[in-house]
Structures are given as C-alpha cells and as structure tokens.
C-alpha cells in the first residue's frame, strides 16, 4: 500500500488516503507560513535557512499534487482542482498567492484598522502605530467642500441632492415617456446642473452670498468638473468622429487637425495655457472664470480621445449597415443618428467608460490653475504645519474615494452593456 503510494499517481481508487495525505501536507505548509508571519515562530528552525525558506512551498506542492484527482464526485474538491489546482504550475501560483495574502494582510489590516487612531482632534492624539484617521476626520469638510464657507455648505448638499434625485428618478419614468428621456438627458440635465451651480452654489442672487470659484474645492469640485466635462466631451467627440470620416475635405481635415492637436499635448500644459495664455487673447474688459476655463480645457482635451474611441466603433460596423440605411432613403444625419451611432456607441461602451474614468482621474491636475479638488485639498492639508507627515493617510483616502467613484461607473457601464445587448 505505502509502496504504491510513491510509485503511482494519485487516483480515485485510494481517494481517501491521497486526500488525507494531501490535506496534512497542505495544513503543515500553511501552518508554517502562518506562524512565521504572524508570530515569528519558525517551526523548522532545525533545518538550514535555505530549506526552511522553501519548505512550505514544497509541502504545499506535494499536498496539492496528492489531491489532484479528476472527477472525484466531491464538489468542493473538484472545484478546487479545476480552478486553482489544475496543473503543477497553477498549484505553485496558488500557494504563492495564499502565502502572500497570509504574510501581507496582517500588517496592512493593522495599519488600516486595528492600530489606527480615530478619536481625538489633533495630530498628537495619534499615538498608535497605525494610520492617523483623525487627520481625515478633522479635514473632512475641507476635502468635501474645499474653502467653501462652512455656513453655506448646505447649498452644495442641496444642489447635489437635487441633481442625484433627478438622475435617480430616470429609473422610475413610466414607459410612455421613455422617448423624451434621451432629449432630457442631453439638454435637461446640463441645464438643471448649470442653473443649480450658477444660482445655488455660486450664489450672488436670491439673497444668497456670492462664493467665488476659487473657494470651491474638494470632492464637490471633482464632481462639478467631471460632470460638465463628461456631458460636453461626449457629443463633441461624436461630432469629431463623424467629421473625421466625412467626405468633405474641409470638415475631415479640420477634425483630424483638432484631434491630433489635443491628443498631442499633455493636459497639464493645456490647463496651464488656459490659465495663463488664454486671457491674453480675450478682448479687454471681458473675463472668463478660471473654473469655466479649466472645464473647457478638459472637455476639449478629452473630446479628442472620445472621438477616436467612437471612430473605432464606426469602423467596426459592416458597410452593409450604411448600404441598407441609404437604400431605405435615410439621409446622412438620420442614418447616423438612427442606425450607425446606436450600434457603434454600444460597441465602444468599454472604451467610452475608459475615457470617462481617465477624465475623472485627470481632474486633480486642475491644481495648476489654483483649483483644489479632493486630491489637491489633501496636498494642501498635508503641508499644514500642525499636520505634517500625514501624506500617506491623505492619499490612501483620496485613492479610496476615486476608486469608489470609478468602480461604480465601471459597474454601471457593464450593466448598460448587458441591458443594450440584443444578441441572443
């Protein structure tokens, strides 16, 4: 029996034997790593360093080898074998990943959670070894609203509440009015958003105190900039994409020129130009707010990328779709709006989402024109003499906030893709 064990491959006839041997090996393999990384105990101190280092991997490898038996009938075992233990190479990868998780998650968790400080209101309250979330707590309002006066922050809250409710209410629109939805989202939303921002956030009328855009900041500014850049860069991108494929040379070459120009310059220089050079071209006495200039700069920049994404979709459509649309008597605009774009845009939803995410993550660059959104506010807060050395906490927080925003957008785009799919 024991002799067979080492000469034959693990097989289903002696399933129990092989599985128990495998589990024992795996147990010791993980136990060694576990004790080693958490409690600094080396079970195999009596071996030389080299052997001791590779022992868990070897044990785990033997363990996984013994349980790699096909179609045992045990669902759990079969799943493991199929997903993470299909070949020797995969089993080694599995082991290394598990070891890495066991080794690195405890220090990470203890920094993030267990040893972290959340009570108190000054840097001195952070006595533990972990992260000092007090920093985030104290500066939270600044990270959300920038330098917007504390007493007026309800205005931002109200504005965003109204905006998000109106976006959310789209889901509850009765089927009858679905046709008006598109025109509403193209014309209505930007208008509502603009009015809200102009009258409520900016103020200056209806007895509301005027707050200059330089004071806006934090996450709310991230939203404002991304929102407007997103809704404007999308249609501009579509027109540029159509323009680039136009048969009229003037339109075609001006589109190409526009796209290649904006794709060729870094965003940070564009923003800088918008702040420094652009006002020089304006006639005397006219003035354009620097936030508006920044939004225009980002919009033009991203619309060039959007154009190329959309063009990819246009090129992916078979020529027959154009032929069929033309043969039914549809003119250029109807053909594109009713037949070509709905299909092309559906094809490039992943690319559009990509551009949108890139746009949102590009917004911190508006610091070059003196506008501080969330990452910018963190950059400012960490240089405060009372809060020196808090950069890690700040940027981890900013990263988490951006991740949440971008991940939800990404999920939304995946849902949209599924919803619009008409394949069988």
């Amino acid at each position: 029996m024991i002799k067979n064990l080492f000469t034959t491959k693990p097989n289903i006839r002696s399933l129990k034997l092989y599985v128990s041997i495998g589990l024992i090996f795996l147990f010791f393999s993980f136990l060694d790593v576990f004790l080693n990384s958490l409690f600094d105990i080396n079970l195999t101190f009596f071996f030389s360093d080299f052997i001791s280092f590779f022992l868990p991997l070897t044990l785990g490898y033997i363990g996984f080898y013994s349980i790699r038996i096909e179609q045992t009938g045990n669902i759990f075992l079969d799943t493991i074998n199929k997903k993470i233990n299909s070949t020797s190479f995969n089993s080694v990868l599995t082991l290394l990943s598990f070891f890495a998780i066991i080794k690195y998650s405890p220090p990470l968790l203890s920094w993030l959670v267990f040893d972290a400080n959340i009570s108190g209101s000054t840097k001195e309250d952070c006595t533990g070894d972990g992260a000092c979330w007090v920093f985030i707590k104290v500066w939270f309002k600044r990270f959300m609203y920038g330098m917007y006066p504390n007493a007026e922050q309800w205005r931002i809250n109200t504005a965003f509440l109204i905006l998000f409710t109106s976006i959310g209410s789209v889901y509850f629109v009765p089927e009858k009015y679905k046709n008006y939805l598109i025109s509403f989202s193209i014309l209505g939303f930007p208008l509502i958003a603009f009015l809200l921002i102009y009258f409520l956030i900016s103020g200056g009328s209806f007895g509301l105190e005027w707050v200059e855009t330089g004071a806006w900041g934090g996450l709310s500014l991230t939203f404002i900039v991304s929102f407007f850049a997103l809704i404007f860069c999308f249609p501009i991108g579509i027109f540029l994409a159509l323009g680039r494929r136009s048969s009229l040379p003037v339109i075609k070459y001006s589109s190409i020129g526009f796209i290649e120009f904006w794709r060729g310059v870094p965003l940070i220089t564009v923003l800088f130009m918008s702040a420094v050079m652009f006002p020089m071209f304006l006639p005397d006495g006219t003035y354009m707010d620097k936030l508006v200039r920044a939004i225009i700069a980002i919009t033009l920049f991203e619309s060039a990328y959007m154009a190329e994404v959309v063009r990819g979709g246009l090129q992916a459509l078979p020529r027959g779709q154009y032929d069929a649309a033309k043969s039914l008597g549809l003119g250029y605009w109807r053909m594109n709006l009713l037949i070509i774009l709905p299909q092309a845009l559906k094809l490039v939803i992943p690319g559009i989402a990509n551009t949108f995410l890139a746009l949102i993550k590009d917004t911190p660059l508006i610091f070059v024109v003196g506008l501080l959104e969330i990452a910018g506010m963190i950059g400012l807060a960490k240089t405060n003499p009372k809060w020196l050395g808090m950069a890690t906490e700040g940027y981890v927080f900013a990263g988490a906030v951006f991740w949440v925003i971008c991940f939800s957008l990404s999920r939304y785009s995946q849902n949209l893709e599924k919803k619009l799919s008409t394949e069988r």
Binding site: G320, A324, K326, S327, L328, G329, I339, E423
Partner: protein
C-alpha cells in the same frame, strides 16, 4: 416607350484604374422582371448598386423614374426611397426589432404616424409570413427569416422598383426556397424587379428578360426562353453549360 422606368446609357465605372462597368446600356420597363447572371467579379452587383447610387458611376447617364442620377442630383434619398433593395447579407439593423426595422424608414422618411407605420409593416410581414416574429431581434431569426424580413422592410416603402443583390447566396439550401417563394409571389404581384442571382430555376419561372454579364460588359440580353434555349454568344453557352 412611355412606361420605361430605368434607363442606363453608356455607363462606365472605374474602381481606381480598374474598369468594372464597360459601356452598359439597359432599359427596364414597368413591371418587367430582369435576371442578371454571370461569373463573380463581372460587375452584376455594381450595376444594380449604381441604380440607387450606392455606387457612383463616372460616365454615362442613369435615369430612374424620370430623374437623372448623378453627383448633382438633389434629394437622392427620395429616389432611394422609391427603389427597394435586398442584400446578400440581409443587412437588417441588429439593434432594432423586426417590426422597428420595418417601421423606421416609414416614420422617419415617409413621416407616417407610428400606428399607421406599424399596420403597414405588419401587413408586409404577413405577406412574407413572418408576422409572428415581429417583436424578435434579427439575431434571433434564421437566415431565411432574416432575408424575408429584409424583403418586407424594403416592401414597406412601397417601392416602384425592387433590386435584389444575390438574395439567396448566403442562405442554407433549405432556406433558399422560402425566400424564392416570396420573390415569385412578389413577381406575380406585378413588381418591377432586377435580380442578380444564380438560381436559374427562379429565373426561368419569373424573368421576362435575362442578362448575362462578363468582365463588366453585358454580353447577352435576351428573352428568357431564347436565352436558355439558344444562347447566341459562346461565353454564355459556356456559362450555362457550367451552372445548369
């Protein structure tokens, strides 16, 4: 001839420096059925695509229903709306249901109210016997059903002329018949038809005139019976001997 609906006169066309159509002269009367055959690359598809200007011709004149078609033609869409076309690859719009495929042009080109457009679409879908598939998407239909839907879509516009560009070439043998049946039915209804096809049985049954093309020229144009029974040119004889 007063009831002449299509007239091509000395039409030449080049793809860069390759001449695809050479001195094409052709006239089609109302209610006439013409079948065009010939080896691949002989310019058959290009010829009928020129008739609704999916391709542009460089020389000669094409007159459809009294309107000359050229680069100067205003409102080419209006002419296209009167010329129905059915393609080898069906070219249904995959993002719209079969019903929406049919009503789209009625609503946006002919400006019919939605309800009327749907009635007309259902009438034509019934005519090609796929009214039960109206709410499905093209991807859910078989090839034969898709091609019949494409015919219905073209019929909805109530065209004066129907162009068929190898309508059965992309179909399984089993599905060819159901499409041909619809076309035979259409022919009997008095539609003016120009059909590019290799289905000689269909040609014998419905065609008034046969055209044989080779290397961009019309080699032979004859009454269907004469064409099959005693073709004049050797090239036609060779072609017929190979496909019959």
């Amino acid at each position: 001839m007063s009831n002449e609906i299509i007239k091509l006169k000395a039409v030449n066309k080049w793809f860069s420096d390759f001449q695809v159509l050479k001195d094409i002269n052709l006239s089609v009367n109302q209610k006439e059925k013409i079948v065009i055959c010939g080896p691949s690359g002989s310019g058959k598809s290009t010829l009928i695509r020129c008739i609704n200007r999916l391709e542009e011709h460089q020389e000669g004149s094409i007159v459809v229903d009294g309107t000359e078609i050229s680069a100067e033609t205003k409102n080419i869409e209006l002419i296209r709306a009167d010329v129905g076309m059915v393609f080898q690859q069906f070219n249904l719009f995959p993002h719209l249901s079969i019903l929406d495929n049919c009503t789209l042009a009625l609503i946006w080109v002919k400006k019919l109210p939605k309800k009327k457009a749907e009635e007309l679409a259902m009438k034509n879908l019934t005519r090609v016997q796929i009214d039960d598939q109206a709410l499905k998407f093209p991807g859910q239909l078989s090839g034969g059903q898709q091609q019949r839907a494409a015919i219905a879509r073209a019929l909805c516009m109530e065209p004066k002329i129907m162009l068929f560009d190898e309508p059965t070439s992309a179909l399984d043998p089993e599905m060819i018949k159901e499409v041909l049946d619809v076309m035979v039915d259409l022919a009997k209804g008095g539609m003016t038809m120009i059909v590019v096809t290799h289905e000689m049985g269909f040609a014998k049954e419905v065609a008034d005139n046969m055209i044989f093309m080779d290397e961009g020229r019309i080699v032979e144009k004859a009454k269907t019976k004469d064409f099959f029974d005693n073709p004049k040119s050797d090239r036609t004889k060779l072609f017929l001997s190979q496909i019959l």
